[in-house]
Subunit: 315 residues, 2 copies
């Protein structure tokens, strides 16, 4: 039996698990806070400790772990096993995190971008192995990973596959990447929150506004709850938001004609009531009118996609 | 010595050539009008006649022609060798054009999309074989072809790689694909003509307007000529147009991080004076700030790219 360890390195927590390769099954999972303030070596050490703890809790000796894969929220060099840039973590450009973990654990370690890891995880658990396969995550940003013939597509320098950073409205809303008008700036969960806040300001007497006041928070779920209660303001916010998501997906379809797209992140918890109208819009607006259509569905794995993808893409 | 025949089937003319495989050299080239009014079988017959004529003029017997490749302006099924949709040609959906030519000539025949053929042609003559490699043609539309590891990327159904049909301004200018705001609607040569016409209407006393009146035509070259003569109205038109082109290219870079992009079509005749500022804009606005940059250059082959690509991609 072959096992690998997948690590999902986040700005807040590091989650890791022992994964059984043959069926992508998680045997044992642990999580610790990311020691961001203690610097890059502390992060490598925290991962090393987590690996040691995992071999204990899982009862699988480190000699049985074939390899370790680390998903990193930023640009990485998969080939050189170094971090190029990760805006929420204290890594110097070129920090050899995989070698640090490899030296300390004695287990071959590789790294890849976290969105690519999540996409690969979703790909692996889809038994039909669709190709091209694309995973889109509607979260703080619009994450994306493209898998073609079983391989992550990230360009000649490893920084590609940034579908969230393509224009929806040139010169529009400022984006975290410093450009204006990116898809991410309209279709992320954060963007939905901003759109909801704006609607509340404009309609302080709406059911949406009252619900926000009652619950004390404005999050990506609020407009869905208000819309379900019949609030027309919330329904309008969501209609516009679905259009933002769908216009970007139509771009993705026109570019790749993927066999399948899965949508993950908190928003995807709304399931078919969200994805259904989005799919319909994409089918009406995409370039291809005569050939088979891209399957568009919600993601399967939720938070474990990144761990499983990192574990199984490791080389 | 191996030879193949490449056919570039256009809405106006059919051009075809005998190509020497080892160095992508055109031995002999011929062209005839496309018999659009005579229907789909007449087009297949015209290609067959052209192939026969080519073997005569080139002095290379048809037994020495390893295969024929046809580039078609529309959606094709490369696998089934049928035309799915070509808006400027009288093909029924599923018309087996490659089999018709194959039966009549006795030479194995394949088809692919014309923009993909052109991209493959440009790829083949680039001795460094960059990957991913992308060719963008700024012509009547914005054509595009993506080559990854030597293969055309066109998705699970063959209709992908339509980079011109991704949004630049959601809900904006109407596009030929019936969607609004596509890159093509802002960055094609036709769009530049429209932008120039609009500027002439707004500034009837400009040098640009006078030049248009003098020459009697408004084409994609006019604003470049007027700008060179110091016309500030033309310079503004081009500044905006370059931004449209560059914003779309920044999207392409963020998605694929191609090793190289080449720009073809009439506009690319402006050379480095056009491509230089475009490249600069892309480098300033793309997502990757730390890794190697995509090479962005003018295309090498001009009108022969499609013939050479179709000839050499033939299987």
């Amino acid at each position: 039996m072959t096992y690998t360890i997948g690590v999902d390195l986040g700005g807040t927590n590091i989650a890791a698990a022992v994964v059984r390769v043959k069926d992508a099954h998680i045997i044992s999972k642990l999580s610790v806070p990311t020691p961001v303030a203690d610097g890059q070596d502390a992060i490598a050490e925290a991962i090393t400790l987590l690996v040691a703890d995992l071999t204990k809790t899982s009862g699988i000796a480190s000699s049985e772990i074939a390899r370790i894969g680390i998903g990193i929220p930023g640009t990485v060099s998969h080939r050189d096993k170094t971090v190029i840039y990760a805006c929420n973590l204290p890594f110097e450009q070129g920090y050899p995190i995989a070698y640090k973990v490899e030296q300390a654990t004695g287990i071959t370690t590789s790294i890849l971008n976290d969105a690519d890891a999540a996409a690969y995880g979703e790909y692996v658990v889809d038994e039909t192995h669709p190709t091209p396969f694309i995973a889109i995550t509607l979260g703080t940003g619009v994450g994306s990973g493209v898998i073609m013939d079983g391989k992550v597509v990230s360009g000649f320098n490893g920084a590609g596959g940034e579908l969230g950073h393509t224009t929806l409205i040139m010169g529009g809303q400022e984006c975290g990447c410093k450009r204006r008008g990116c898809w991410e700036a309209y279709a992320s969960a954060s963007a939905l929150v901003r759109q909801t806040e704006e609607a509340i300001r404009q309609h302080p007497d709406s059911l949406l506004a009252h619900l926000a006041e009652k619950t004390g928070t404005i999050n990506g779920k609020l407009p869905f709850d208000a819309a379900e209660l019949g609030c027309s303001v919330a329904q309008k916010v969501l209609e516009q938001y679905r259009m933002y998501v769908a216009e970007g997906l139509a771009n993705v379809v026109n570019i790749f004609q993927p066999e399948k797209i899965v949508i993950g992140g908190g928003i995807s918890n709304q399931g078919e009531s969200f994805v259904g109208p989005v799919r319909e819009y994409v089918y009406q607006h995409e370039y291809n009118r005569y050939l088979s259509k891209t399957k568009i569905e919600t993601a399967q794995l939720s938070n474990d996609a990144g761990i499983i993808g990192a574990a199984l893409y490791a080389e």
